[in-house]
């Protein structure tokens, strides 16, 4: 795991969130639900993560990590764990 890799994942996740939430004012520490996110948007984010990053993130993990920063860290660590 490198800082550089993490930054790249964060940027791509950030772009997915902005697109699916339909707003530009998303900070990496903003809560998904406080931004007006809901389950249908969550499903689209899950789909985008599969297509664009090649990872299937369980929705329960998306709920437990409801910010760009925390879900990016989760993706990075699960990638490191599975090699």
């Amino acid at each position: 795991m490198t800082d550089e890799g993490n930054v790249m994942i964060t940027e791509r996740v950030h772009a997915i969130w902005r697109r699916e939430l339909g707003r530009d004012d998303v900070a990496v520490d903003d809560d998904f639900f406080a931004l007006g996110g809901q389950s249908v948007i969550m499903a689209r984010i899950q789909r985008s993560l599969i297509v664009e990053l090649g990872v299937e993130v369980p929705v329960d993990q998306l709920f437990r990590n409801p910010t760009v920063a925390s879900i990016s860290a989760y993706i990075e660590s699960s990638r490191a764990a599975t090699g």
Partner: protein, 524 residues
Amino acid sequence: MILPGKRVPLPAVPVVHRRFEAHAADTPDATAVHCAGQRLSYRDLNARANQFAHLLVERGHGRGAKVGVCLDYSADMLVAILGTLKAGAAYVPLDPAYPAARLRLLLGQIPQLAAIVAAPATVELVECANAPVIDLAQMSDQLAAMPVVDPDVPVTGEDLCYAVFTSGSTGTPKLTAVRHENWFNLLNWLTFEFGLHRESHNLVVSAFGFDLSQRSLMMPLFCGATQYLMASRNFDAAMAYRMLTEHDIRTVNCASSTLYVLVDWEIASGGNALTRLDYMLFGGEPLHVERVLEWARAEGNTCTLLHQYGVAECADVATSYDLADYRSDEHDVAPVGRPGYNTDIHILDEQLRGVRTGKPGEICIAGRSVGAGYLNGSGPESARFTTIQVHGAPVRIYRTGDRGYVTETGQLIVLGRMDTQVKVRGMRIDPHEIERALGRLAGVRQAAVVVSPDGSGDCELTAFLVPTGDPLADNDVRARLLETLPRNMVPARFRTIARLPLTPHGKVDRAALLDELRTGVPAR
């Protein structure tokens, strides 16, 4: 206008778990439930449910008792549900995905709450209640020592089987109860009308607290098939689609908004897990038929799409329509079809007189679907259960508050609500309840919640807030609301406003607020 359902006799004792017990006797080795790699046969599920029932009876939680079930989807959830029914009690589903404050509120609304079933993952959520908590993990030794035979409890069709919460106009959720005969009638209709059988394996994709989830949970056990459950607290489209791909699942029950998500997933991934299903049963909110029609009509799609209508107060489903019959040149909206067995639809005017074919009126439900009513108090909603005279005989009806009409060909069309209630992603919501929750937040003087179409044609909630002092930050209000309300009840948008516009009668002028949303020009 009366649209009658087919008359089909029910057994003398229409009790839902008797059907399950008959399958446990006939095909004991068949798989009853499959969840996260764990499988239980009909024999084992029946034995464990019996042990749980004996424990409840021993503790005095038998006929007439209410048992809260706060569990994640698991084989244990079916043990708790079936065990509760076998003891003669009714269960109340409590979704562990709800905020703890919401669960506390709901628990306080359950009369004769005898016990709450929980697991290590949920026990913390319900400890606050003034009823004993049965932690299945902690109780495993006592349960294992209980008899495995069917308990001898004389349950009748009149006994309550479950009660679910729906949003209430007074700010308190209403707990609406269903009797065994209501539920049996529904499951019997679905089984025989659509030819469900021992291979009609089902996948549950809806949240536990929904009325439709109760039907989805019991449907395969009623026809002797396997129930597939996802080990996920929240709807997980990727997991659902993978399970549909990997297992021989034949039926899915869901809200229309979930149908779109699954269909979009199938189209995006190029799979065929949905098209090879036998049935998708969906409804619970207005259908945007154009979002699924192309997929539904594609070559090779053998899945029958049943567009259904009903209310929690009347065992969830009252009518059904095969979407293959839909012709867009006949109707703008897809009909919801004809009533189920022993269920009648009446279209009535304000004086509760029948209107003619083709004329709109209030959709009222009569027959064996009509449930037992609300368990928590007599709010204004209770008057919706009433009696009318039909050809000189009294008929008990439930006034749904939905507007609709019956076509010349005998199909029911739903037009919308007669009040401000709304469905958001399948969940029935009264905006007044959200307004009350907003009004309780510090910094909010007054609130009004309105419903408007979002970009994709679904419903969206907008809250107009009058602050007591400083302007309110949207994200802060949302975060505080999420502590007390389920996510579907939290508005998508917030607008701060100096004062709420009023109608000449002094009521909040919702039309003016909607105009402001549409035009961007502040209401007066």
